[in-house]
Symmetry: D2
């Protein structure tokens, strides 16, 4: 297969796709958990049964404190007290961290209230329910008990025999299914699907492209497939959306289709190189996967450190 | 058994205890992970095998934004953009969170650099290695791949037939072993031990006691037992230390013995009521337990949302 | 005169007062500066001419980092880099500060967008113009060039021969005019009026009363006098409002009458003891006064360090 | 005159200059105020007497929230509560601001503890006195009563008949004195000297040069002149230092000579275009000038909104 820039999708086509994948009302008019409802106890038990070795791999980058093209508003960490001058008895150190998780740098989980489409959030709640005081609906703490399920990594660069995808390269259903076939896996209901594009921000140095100028990711045409397969959470080393999207009037159609229409949470900016290497070494692409957002009531998202267990 | 205030420990007795439980050099002169070294792949595989049902329970309180006697410097969450005025097309919401994890309110994991004793940290590193720029040694990101093991909850109030322990009530080895016996468990090497005191900050309202004025917790005499049993991480609904400590010249001797001497990380301010109820319902007190601190390089600790899986 | 708790004001009486002092439209339908419009170049030149000695006195408390009953969400200052370990050549230190100015502790200037009454701000702008992204109208930066005028201190405790007013003690027009008479001053158009109640937070220690439970301040019946005299900015060592207010359905009627109706900015939590002493020593109660809020675009207020020049 | 890049200064020459301008001990071994001591009451009274018109001009840029090459860690402003959904009675809005003042974007005042040279601060205090908990010496709050004096603007671009100086263009004593002559002013003891280079960050858009790659400013050879003239505070639309400095082993020799050797505070990133225009219109280059840093105890600097009064 070859490099594909995102094929065009008209505004009308997008709206039709949006309507076709909507899960509004599926879990009742008051639901705020969306596709997390697809993860059952049985699914979690099966996921734990995948653990053979006990090897763990995190998919989080360190909280990004260094500014850069894709990190215009860095995380800040500052010290309240250190160990300087301490020589006797008991003393303690403390610090604080300031995190605004959204964007292209922090490894984070988007809440369903993060994105609006035509003035509405997932399950039809009005955008105004995301108030100046915080989210009254669809906040990040709908996931307060944690998100634990089977994780599936679909490694697109490996499929294509390349170290990483190119700027603006769009992943299609054909790619996802070819990866499944090559890897011997099948994405199923309740899975947390991780899609690797090979993004390597830390290696890009001065030449790092602002993602909006060209990030590999999923083409919006994959959204019905995500719906059919019953993906509970979608993650990526990018932000899942291919950029540019090729979608008329919508730079992030995958965000809209997942967060708003399907109620599928998104895991952005994941560190997938170590995970991909661990999978390749073991020739297994599924694992128990634990995503534990901080319990930020009314929050729009949370930095996370998801753990894959083999 | 009856309410016991912390028995007295002299400064010399504490120093002798400290020296007797030290793990400095045990994992090499350059080690910064401490007792996390006791959690092996095999241990993690065994922990996963404990999962039968797939039921998950978080042990995190929501990030505490409301001030109170035990929360003098609350977490702050503030909105960068909400959904007000949004009616067309794509829009997104964002916020930021400011967390200083230490203290009596945030459910957090202490890094080994959080506490110093006589000018040193775990493994003999000088306190000055916790600099004004952050921790050069023993930072929270030594746990960046996550902490996954068997969790064991020892429920002391249930043992004593009471809803919660009293102010300043000290838990001894005798209590821990009686709880083991009653519950049919035995704390082993690599375990994450959670000790319930029954602390219920959210129900204390105006009468909430500042923990320093009286918090139930472990007596320092339990530290050799923690060492012998090979506990990897110690957690509590309080801060593990009983207050007052009864220990001459040291208000938090358990903090010193764990973080500094043994290299045992501490999980403070855990929400253990739901976990205790889940354990009691199932008459099982062990579970897979996943603690995933944010990867805060040079950090002194991290808010966490640990997940128990049954 | 004797201690007076706030006399009762019915909701209807308050609304009538509000309507009677409104400056909406007075400076045009697009005005956002309110009574700052009363400070002319001539007024500023006169204020500078008051300077004889060159003695300066600040009316700001240090940014309050210590928690307390009146400071539930303290200012945070944290170090980014210090001087530990520095011994050669050039090095620098840096820190950050987190300030949420409103409340009872930070010496700050309220923007006109800080308060709403029946869904409106000063000059009839809808409350919704204070959006989740910040203030579209009446933000603090309307004062970006600074507020410089004649400052007048009316010292009510000195008038009453007491060190400070009592909890909930209400100041009336009678008190203000008696203070003018005793001090030999007359509040005029364009003045920045500072009213001293003798509040001494730093001396209150553990007994410090939460201001909502009883703070001395202006009775709402003084508002027409404020309007007539043409006060441009009103300041206080408290928050100007007496608490409790005695006003039906409105805990802070002075806030509403000033910020919303008159477009008079408020200076809260000023440190007035040193200024009062300086005035008393000189037997002069007027001075050049400079208030320079940080230029926080879309902001609701700013910490300030106002300077009186004698 | 023509564009001059910074002439070379050897390390030895710099050290000799440093030693020649030191004010250590001049105001006693315990002094932390440095050249602020040169501003007397009489000086302040003279400054006030300069006010004729009452026209005010701020020299602060809005707090810079937008990231950019010279603003890698922007100020953050976020809303705690807005006016959305408010329609009845009393309600209020609030926000918070996070400011790390140092760098090339925030209009701020450097404290004397901001810079170290060979392990020392102004007046010989050890760099270690700027601890992980904050500055024990030379903090920003030495100026808590405000800094009020005669301001003098030396407009170098106007002198040279150009809109602004070029990248890396160095200002010498010859330039300063020629500006004095052209403008009919003479810098004297206790003055706050503002030097305009014509820096226009807001107009530079995408082409904005990271200042480290070339900022106009003062050549280190001007430092003895600053000492002789008795400048109390030095300010600039840049950061005073020309970059590159041409000084061996020291990128910011003016910072070192002022903050460390002379105890002269620095005002960085000032907005001088409006002030220069106001001066030119009036053909007067002196004015009363008020700089009021927030009272940040132990702080390394403060965002400020200085006001010039004509």
């Amino acid at each position: 297969m070859t490099t594909k820039q995102a094929g065009a999708t008209s505004a009308a086509e997008f709206q039709a796709l949006f309507d076709s994948v909507k899960n509004w009302g599926r879990w009742g008019p008051d639901d705020q958990r969306g596709a997390l409802n697809l993860i059952t106890n049985a699914k979690r038990a099966q996921a734990a049964a995948l653990v053979k070795e006990g090897h763990i791999v995190s998919t989080a980058h360190p909280l990004p404190v260094m500014p850069g093209p894709n990190n215009p508003a860095p995380v800040r960490r500052a010290v309240l007290a250190g160990g300087d001058g301490i020589s006797d008895g008991f003393a303690s150190a403390a610090d604080l961290t300031i995190v605004a998780p959204h964007g292209f740098a922090v490894s984070h989980l988007d809440a369903l209230c993060h994105v609006f489409w035509n003035g509405q959030m997932y399950n039809g709640y009005p955008a105004g329910d995301m108030t100046s005081r915080g989210a009254e609906k669809n906040a990040i703490d709908v996931a307060r008990e944690g998100i634990v399920s089977r994780g599936v990594l679909l490694d697109i660069p490996r499929l294509l025999g390349r170290p990483y995808l190119d700027k603006g390269e769009a992943i299609t259903v054909e790619d996802l299914e070819a990866a499944e076939a090559r890897q011997g896996v099948r994405v199923e209901e309740g899975d947390i699907l991780l899609v690797r594009t090979g993004r390597r921000p830390r290696e890009q140095g001065e030449g790092e492209t602002l993602l909006f100028q060209g990030g590999a990711g999923l083409h919006v045409s994959t959204m019905p497939w995500i719906k059919e397969r019953g993906v509970a959470v979608l993650g990526c080393d990018g932000i899942s959306d291919v950029m540019p999207s090729g979608c008329e009037g919508n730079a992030l159609p995958v965000h809209v289709a997942t967060l708003v229409a399907m109620g599928v949470h998104l895991l952005d900016n994941q560190s997938l190189e170590p995970l991909a290497d661990a999978c390749a070494e073991r020739n297994r692409w599924t694992f128990q996967y634990v995503v534990a957002p901080l319990v930020i009531e009314k929050g729009t998202g949370s930095a996370v450190n998801p753990i894959a267990v083999f």
